[in-house]
């Protein structure tokens, strides 16, 4: 199709503006990686302006990842919380979503209200804190797995997906109790992979990136997730005492450590999401705004 002169200007401008915007969004990440692998002498010589490292050094990573570093324990906590948490969250969400997608279920309206009400009104930060404390979960390894394990919003996304499945699947499942579970496991689950992957990713991001629940409920450094350690490195511009103790030598400059810590903490999510992105592009999000 031939473009008119005006359209040509329009299309070119659009390309330029979008490319610039994307660069602005990406540049901070690029800069962080760049500084984290640039030796400090070059960093200060160039007065912080290091977009392309002229020489590479892993001194900051070596420091953070030395033997016995607190980072390992924190990373282990985050990985455990995320893996166990996402499995639990998907289980809790999918079971409710599947049950409520059956329109003939007696009492369905009331049960939906029971779950959706939590989106309308929440007890709030302090009442939730008190509850967690009264349940004896404060400062345990379970609290960060449990506290994020269900979101009514994700349940609605899954429910609308299950509702879009053909009725005949359900009917064949309803013939007798035993085969019902088998149909659920062998037919419904496999064809629901796109929605499970999408919702799973949403939960994964929440678990991996959580720092606020950790800030509230975990006070022990050896139970802390890696985001909390990172926050301590950035906000207080110093390292948690436990990390310093393991570092026999004088630590390298703080700014490099901060940058390297950011890379270490953020990398796994940034590697995972492009692989799951295609499920979002399949358009499952369209139906999900509607309840």
């Amino acid at each position: 199709m031939k473009l008119t002169r005006g359209e040509n200007v329009f299309v070119t401008t659009n390309y330029i503006v979008l490319t610039l915007l994307t660069l602005i969004i990406i540049l901070p990440f690029w800069y962080v990686i760049s500084v984290s692998i640039t030796p400090y002498s070059i960093f200060s010589e160039k007065n912080g302006l290091v977009l392309f490292p002229s020489s590479v050094s892993f001194q900051y990573y070596d420091y953070l990842l030395q033997k016995g570093s607190l980072i390992y324990a924190a990373y282990g906590n985050t990985v455990r919380n995320t893996v166990v948490g996402v499995v639990l969250a998907l289980f809790l969400t999918a079971t409710v979503a599947y049950a409520l997608s059956e329109k003939k279920l007696p009492g369905r309206k009331i049960i939906i209200f029971y779950f959706v009400f939590t989106m309308l009104f929440k007890g709030g930060l302090i009442p939730t804190y008190i509850t967690v404390k009264e349940l004896g979960l404060l400062n345990t390894n379970y609290v960060l797995i449990l506290i994020m394990a269900f979101s009514a919003f994700n349940m609605i996304i899954m429910k609308s997906f299950f509702e879009s499945l053909p009725e005949s699947l359900r009917e064949s499942a309803a013939i007798d109790g035993a085969s019902e579970i088998r149909v659920l496991m062998n037919i419904v689950l496999p064809i629901s992979m796109p929605v499970i992957a999408s919702v799973g990713l949403l939960y994964m991001v929440v678990y991996w990136n959580d720092f606020f629940n950790a800030l509230l409920y975990v006070t022990d450094w050896n139970k802390a997730p890696v985001q909390l350690v990172l926050r301590s490195i950035i906000v207080s511009s110093s390292l948690p005492p436990e990390l310093l103790e393991t570092a026999g030598t004088t630590p390298p400059p703080t700014i490099g450590i901060q940058m390297a810590a950011i890379v270490i903490v953020a990398l796994p999510m940034l590697i995972v999401y492009p692989f799951v992105q295609k499920f979002f592009d399949q358009g499952m999000m369209v139906g999900s705004v509607k309840g």
């Binding site: 809790l92 029971y114 009442p127 939730t128 509850t131 999401y273 992105q277």
Partner: protein, 317 residues
């Protein structure tokens, strides 16, 4: 549930039995509901009971049974507190700014992306603009703090390049809200655009073909076909966003603010955190939670009602 009116007595007597049979038929589904039912009870409904501490002088050691009732004392204290009124005001202002930018940016981005014909290029741009959504505010806040730092920060280098004076932007009350709004847009706009991209993809291609035949330029097609086509989605998402005005972005603010900018940057959530968790004044903070929750509930319900009036299919509740 079906109503049986005017049936013979014998048939009516079997009613409970039939209901039981219907419930029995779906027994597996009820079993499936149980685990999440319990979770929601523990972590969403028990805290509703915890709200009662807002009306008590809650004593951590004595717990619920030993604490004295205090009536509305803590609410009165909040209304008298300049710090609380400041946080309340900031919450509304920051939310409003973010609503406008968080509303316009994703729509413009989706429209612009839709005009890119090269699939690989579009895909690359999309992957890039989604990226910040996948890091925490600890990470993003850390990056911003470093970029804005007075000596080595990249932003100040650019300011100097254009002849300006470097400043520590994060402690300047004049810039803080702007920083919040801009960084929020940079982090979230890509992801927020997904929904509009999907809505545009769902529009009928025949309408575009007809517009081309009628000689509509690309720009005119955006104004007269694409925008009206996604107008419903835009209105509904905007209205639903109004319902969350009381949450101005805890994760972001707590990682960027400092006492120098409390005056313009302290929001209800950070106020509640400081008063409740750091200063351990649990009852006062819980009272602030209640105020936030009640106003939030009213806003969500109103927003949802308006959304339903515009498009009966929409609305979450």
């Amino acid at each position: 549930m079906e109503l049986i009116v005017g049936k013979k007595k014998s048939e009516r007597e079997t009613m409970p039995g039939r209901t039981m049979r219907r419930i029995w038929k779906f027994k597996l589904l009820y079993v499936l509901l149980l685990p999440a039912f319990l979770w929601v009870f523990l972590f969403d409904y028990l805290p509703l009971y915890g709200i009662s501490i807002a009306f008590m002088d809650y004593n951590v050691i004595k717990g619920f049974p030993g604490s004295e009732w205090a009536g509305l004392k803590h609410f009165q204290a909040l209304f008298d507190s300049e710090m609380f009124r400041n946080a309340f005001r900031n919450t509304l202002i920051i939310s409003l700014y973010k609503m406008i930018s968080g509303f316009l940016c994703p729509i413009l981005l989706a429209l612009a992306l839709n005009e890119i014909r090269r699939a690989w290029f579009k895909k690359t741009l999309q992957t890039a603009v989604y990226l910040p959504r996948f890091v925490s505010w600890v990470v993003y806040g850390g990056i911003i703090t470093i970029l804005l730092s007075p000596e080595t920060g990249l932003v100040n280098k650019v300011v100097e390049l254009f002849g300006g004076n470097p400043a520590y932007l994060l402690v300047e009350p004049a810039y803080f809200r702007t920083i919040l709004v801009v960084t929020d847009a940079m982090k979230e706009m890509g992801w927020a655009a997904i929904i509009y991209i999907a809505a545009i993809a769902g529009l009928n291609p025949e309408v575009y073909e007809a517009a081309i035949v009628d000689g509509a330029t690309r720009f005119k097609r955006i104004i007269h076909v694409t925008l009206p086509g996604i107008a419903g989605t835009i209105v509904v998402l905007f209205i639903l966003r109004v319902g969350y005005v009381m949450s101005a972005g805890l994760d972001q603010v707590i990682n960027l603010y400092n006492p120098m900018v409390f005056e313009v940057g302290d929001i209800l959530d950070t106020y509640i955190y400081r008063v409740g968790i750091e200063q351990f004044n649990l009852s006062l903070a819980a009272a602030a939670d209640v105020i936030k929750g009640v106003i939030g509930l009213a806003l969500v319900l109103t927003a949802n009602r308006i959304a339903k009036r515009i498009d009966p299919e929409s609305g979450i509740f």
